[in-house]
Symmetry: C2
DNA sequence: TGAAGAAATGAATTAACATTCACTTCATCA
DNA sequence: TGATGAAGTGAATGTTAATTCATTTCTTCA
């Protein structure tokens, strides 16, 4: 036995892995997916291209991990809100508006992770992420339905999916490179973000709030 | 002058173009984007690969045209609903529910056009399409705001975007190859589609319906 | 110190299609 | 009919990065 992994090596390996993830995340958040090449990541992390493959089996898995790390934090934030006090409506409003505001703090990264056209395989990893967020929203909606404050004529999971799709789409315009020309440091910007977050959250809450009287819609089918 | 395009040639050219578009559309609607290769399209249209390039400058433009043709029909249907009689709420409900039901008639195609991971360039073409649909919804919302039946505390264009994002996302699950195991010909299937369409439309309408009393939310920011 | 094995390297290879183009076939008309 | 130029062909080429792997450099410990 002439070689055994010591603590110092193990630490370096761990550090390398973290550096790769950090570099990958930084590149995406600065230049979107077109900058997110394995060779660039390696260079940014200060190592050779091949080294990246000692830590991640493929580009897709590397970026899936970036995606999942960022997302997990958001899911945790939402889960904390879901578990906090207040009515379901209040929690839903806070959850949506918080998500929007947090996304707007790093618009380039949020845009890349949520909406920017990217490799098929990375795109597939987004599904998991949306599903996790949707599940948190579902739990709030279901609680509100139990409590009687939210409408029960739509399944909680469908409502959650629609809400998530809605606020994500509402975010895309402001997040995208086109819709994002203002300086982020201005007070006006901060206010407009808060207003956007509030409007989107209001729409989300309204969509599931129990109607006061049971005025049934009369759907027609013209086509 | 030894050559001039005659009517018969012109007709053939036009027909070829149409055959390419039809073949492209058929391939996508049968096998999704992985089947949508230029060589396959050419084969399906009964011609050589290079011929396709006499009609379309690139794969992306070819499929952008497929996308826009299918989408335009949907936009037209929605526009007709928007221009029809009834309250804004009724028209919104009908518009959303009609869109959902029509999409479910050809789920594989709708899934590919709306949600399936695909080439960046084709993905970019989707934006135009969503924008057009969003514009129709916006017009309904704006009318409802004018009439006083829809809430005015959110901008019509934002509301429209959120609504579109919501119903598209609500569709994705049922449209995707995973969520679509039933035979489409059963009566049960048709009923479940109608129910889905109604629920999604109900959420959309509720999100913008004017609240009876002005109960302000109290947003908090825990994070 | 040096043998043994792990980690790192980065140039070369691969893969998967889109796209091109030199050539063939077809349509037109003097 | 054959000269002219358009339409059609499909094998060859181009493109763009991801991925590999033979080689080099480090670590460990007898």
């Amino acid at each position: 036995m002439a070689y055994r992994q010591t603590a110092s090596v193990e630490a370096r390996l761990h550090d390398n892995r973290a550096r790769i993830l950090a570099a990958a995340r930084r590149l995406v958040s600065e230049g979107g997916w077109k900058e997110a090449q394995v060779a660039s990541v390696a260079a940014a992390a200060g190592m050779a291209t091949g080294t990246v493959y000692r830590y991640f089996p493929s580009k897709a898995e590397l970026f899936a991990e970036v995606l999942s790390a960022v997302s997990q934090r958001e899911v945790d934030v939402l889960a904390a809100i879901a578990a906090s006090g207040g009515s379901a409506t209040q929690r839903l409003h806070t959850a949506v508006s918080t998500f929007v505001q947090r996304a707007m703090r790093n618009p380039r990264l949020a845009y890349a992770l949520i909406a920017e056209p990217c490799d098929k395989e990375i795109d597939e990893a987004r599904l998991t992420y949306r599903a996790a967020i949707s599940e948190v929203i579902r739990s709030i909606v279901a609680a509100g339905q139990q409590a009687g404050s939210l409408r029960t004529d739509v399944a909680a999971d469908l409502a959650a999916t629609v809400i998530v799709g809605g606020f994500m789409e509402g975010l895309i315009g402001p997040l995208s490179p086109l819709g994002r020309r203002q300086r982020q440091d201005s007070e006006a910007y901060r206010r407009s973000v808060a207003a956007l977050a509030d409007e989107i959250a209001t729409l989300a809450c309204a969509s599931v709030t129990a109607p006061p009287s049971t005025v049934r819609q009369l759907p027609r089918r013209p086509s």
